[in-house]
Each structure stands twice: as structure tokens, then as C-alpha cells.
């Protein structure tokens, strides 16, 4: 039977767990890909917030060097955010200084490992992963391969968010090495309205729904309506 030895954790995304046998496999690595404005960071935060509700530790690595308070300003209107959890059940770690100073993939991996060993999170987010490709020296593909292997060996569900470029359907170089690929996209309806969609492209060891499903982002976060396309 598919998934009979896999533990699951709730995604936190309203309606999504029903699409994938109850949640993300634990442990596993997930790529959430989409173009700008599709809701990748909201997805990642909602995933961490669900962990807070379930008594789990979250670790949010940002590669953008945004000040914590800046990010919080834009997310605290969501009803799923517990402001008291920031700095406690959700630790925020800026990879920017390490990336800018050394540009060395080995030093970056060691720094990530150190942070994970210290906080022992069950949920990890790296947002966005794509930025790292432009900042490190050497082979980005090799770095991604090493990073995915490092993350898989810690017992956590790790979400990496990735920017989708105009000429590609999803970040191909990352999708090979993760267990799950979730694609967030924008589309125009026949009435000319722009809609958001969520699609599970790949999920190892799990029976999941296929195709694009309508997604809404409100103060309650992301809600997927399975079957509405």
C-alpha cells in the first residue's frame, strides 16, 4: 500500500491535506515554486504556523536579508499568525550575511547544519532558494544536491521556495532532488479575471490529486478548493 510506513504532518494549507493522504511525508523535502505574487512565502509561513499549533519547532531561513520586523509587518494581518511565536516556536535566520561574506557553498551548508542542530526544528523553510544560485561560487546544481541531502538527513519537513522564470514551467534543477513539488500559478479566466492555482506536480510515496486547483489567499491564508479548476 502506498505510504503505509510514512508518517505525515499537516501542511497548514486549508484543503490541501485532503489532496495528499493527510499531509506531507515526515521527513521530506518540498519545493514550492511560483512566479512573483503567487503566495510562496504565505504558503511557507502558513506551514510553519501549523507547526506552532502542533507543538513543533519551525526554522525560517531567509536568503533576502530582509529585517525580521519588515517581514512581520506584512504577515501579521494573517489570522493564522501567532505573533508571540516569532523568535520562539518560529526562529528566523538570515542567510544573507553568510552568503555575501563567503559565497562558499560548504560554509553555507555548515551554517545551515549548525542552526538545525541547535534548534532541532520539525519544520524548515528556505525562502527563496533561487537567490542562492546567483550568490554562491561554483556549481549551483551541486550545491542544491548537497543541500537537499543535508535537509533529508535531519528529521524535518523542509520547504524551499523557488521563483519560476518566464521561460520555464518550474525550477527544473531543484525539482529532481526534492520529494515533493508544489506549483503555484496565475491564470486568466474567460472573464478576464486573474486567478491563483495550486498543483501538486510530484509527491514521492504518496497518492495525490493532479491538475490545477483553484486557490484563494485571504486573511485566513491560502485555501485550496479541490475540484475547482
Amino acid at each position: 500500500m502506498v505510504g503505509d510506513t510514512l508518517e505525515r504532518v499537516k501542511s497548514g494549507i486549508n484543503g490541501m491535506d485532503e489532496m495528499m493522504q493527510g499531509g506531507f511525508a515526515f521527513p521530506s523535502t518540498v519545493l514550492v515554486a511560483g512566479s512573483a505574487g503567487t503566495g510562496k512565502t504565505t504558503f511557507a509561513l502558513q506551514f510553519l504556523a501549523r507547526g506552532v499549533r502542533d507543538g513543533e519547532q519551525g526554522l525560517f531561513f531567509t536568503t533576502l536579508s530582509e529585517p525580521t520586523q519588515w517581514m512581520l509587518r506584512f504577515v501579521t494581518h494573517f489570522t493564522f499568525i501567532d505573533k508571540d511565536s516569532f523568535g520562539k516556536q518560529i526562529k528566523y535566520v538570515d542567510l544573507g550575511p553568510v552568503l555575501r561574506k563567503d559565497r562558499d557553498p560548504d560554509i553555507l551548508l555548515k551554517y545551515i547544519d549548525d542552526q538545525i542542530a541547535e534548534h532541532m526544528p520539525q519544520r524548515i523553510v528556505i525562502d527563496p532558494i533561487s537567490v542562492i544560485g546567483n550568490m554562491i561560487k561554483g556549481d549551483y546544481r551541486m550545491f542544491l544536491y548537497d543541500l537537499a541531502n543535508h535537509l533529508k538527513n535531519w528529521r524535518a519537513v523542509s520547504i524551499m521556495t523557488g521563483e519560476v522564470l518566464p521561460n520555464e514551467p518550474y525550477p527544473v534543477e531543484i525539482s529532481y532532488i526534492v520529494d515533493t513539488v508544489v506549483l503555484l500559478s496565475l491564470g486568466l479566466t474567460s472573464e478576464g479575471t486573474r486567478r491563483k492555482y495550486l498543483e501538486i506536480l510530484k509527491m514521492r510515496g504518496t497518492q495525490h490529486t493532479t491538475g490545477q486547483h483553484l486557490m484563494d489567499v485571504s486573511r485566513d491564508g491560502i485555501t485550496v478548493t479541490v475540484g475547482l479548476k
Binding site: T5, L6, E7, D54, G55, M120, Q122, W154, R155
Partner: protein
């Protein structure tokens, strides 16, 4: 330390205080908390009781376990090793390569070596625990024969080294994948309630 964490520690201390006749102890919890409870058990055994032993990890690199233990000041530099050397280390961390049976068989072979075997044998006799983390993942890598072989090797090892106690940690929900006979292998089972781990 929060009240919930202290409750977990007290429960674990109580289980580890059980009489010496309890040689096979199973501690269960939700899968997401196995790493944290692993750490708590290691803290009690190594930091509080200064015991020596073997820690087998089925699904993690030994260096990750070492990194966590050092990061949380449970072992200091040089106190733990993943090489079974005939020197007095406090902790030997082994990667079980999908099953502790593989590691135990290798260890037994090494003790049979006429040159290095006696020193290793003496080391093992001075140890107090054989800990396996995330036992429930055994079912992901082994069929029923492999699972039986694991329990068989553990039983044989405990018979040869009577000072050792087998302590296994497992995700509660996937324990059934080890088969209906698995719980019967243990003398004692302790469950950590979910709400104690939610703080």
C-alpha cells in the same frame, strides 16, 4: 525548562530507573518528536548518569547525532566516536545502515578477532546501554525477515553483554509496521503523550 518538558524528563527518568531485569525498553511518541526525545534520553544517560553506551541511528548520519549532542553539551569533543576503537569513549555512535543487525553482526565479528577482540570486548562489558533511535523506520528498509533478524541480533547481543540495556525509541503511529510481534520483544513500553510535547 517548561512544565511539559519537565514532565517528559520525569517520565523518561522513571522508565530508565526501572529494575535491571527490564532489559528491553521501548519508548514511543509521535514521530515528529523522536529527535527531541532521543536527545532527552541521551541527556539522562550521559549527562545525568554518566553512563557509557552505544547509540545506533537507523536513518540519520552518525555525524548529525554527534553534532546535536555536542551542540547541546551532552558530549564534549572527543567523548563520542563513530569508530569502535579500543579506547574509553563515553559513547559510540553507529549508523545502523538500515538495520542495527548489520552493525551488531560486525561488532560481534570484531570481538572474535584474536588481536583486537579482547580490548573491544572489555569496552563493551563496561557499557550500560544500547540505544536505537527511530526503530519504527526499520520497516521502511526491511521486510519481516529483516525485522526478525534485527530483534534476533539484539537478543543475542544482550545475552553476551549482560550489563547492557536495550533502549529503543519509535514513532507511535508507525509502530504497527514492525509487525504484531514487535511489542512482545520488549519488557516494558512507555508512551509519551502528545500534549506533553506541545509546548
Amino acid at each position: 525548562m517548561t512544565r511539559q518538558n519537565e514532565a517528559v524528563m520525569q517520565k523518561l527518568r522513571g522508565a530508565l530507573d526501572s529494575p535491571p531485569s527490564i532489559r528491553k525498553l521501548l519508548i514511543t511518541m509521535r514521530a515528529q518528536s523522536v529527535t527531541r526525545v532521543d536527545l532527552a534520553v541521551a541527556k539522562i544517560l550521559l549527562s545525568e548518569r554518566n553512563e557509557r553506551g552505544i547509540y545506533i541511528t537507523i536513518d540519520r548520519p552518525d555525524k548529525h547525532v554527534l553534532m546535536i549532542l555536542e551542540k547541546h553539551n551532552i558530549t564534549g569533543p572527543g567523548e563520542a566516536s563513530s569508530e569502535m576503537e579500543p579506547v574509553a569513549k563515553r559513547l559510540f555512535i553507529a549508523k545502523g545502515i538500515f538495520s542495527p543487525a548489520v552493525f551488531i553482526a560486525e561488532l560481534m565479528n570484531r570481538t572474535a578477532n584474536p588481536h583486537s577482540g579482547p580490548a573491544l570486548d572489555a569496552e563493551l562489558r563496561a557499557m550500560r546501554f544500547l540505544m536505537v533511535d527511530n526503530l519504527s523506520t526499520l520497516a521502511a528498509y526491511n521486510g519481516p525477515k529483516g525485522i526478525d533478524a534485527c530483534f534476533g541480533h539484539v537478543a543475542m547481543f544482550l545475552m553476551k553483554y549482560p550489563s547492557l540495556r536495550f533502549i529503543a525509541l519509535a514513532g507511535r503511529d508507525s509502530l504497527g509496521a514492525l509487525g504484531p510481534d514487535a511489542p512482545g520483544f520488549f519488557n516494558m513500553m512507555v508512551g509519551i503523550p502528545d500534549d506533553w510535547l506541545m509546548d
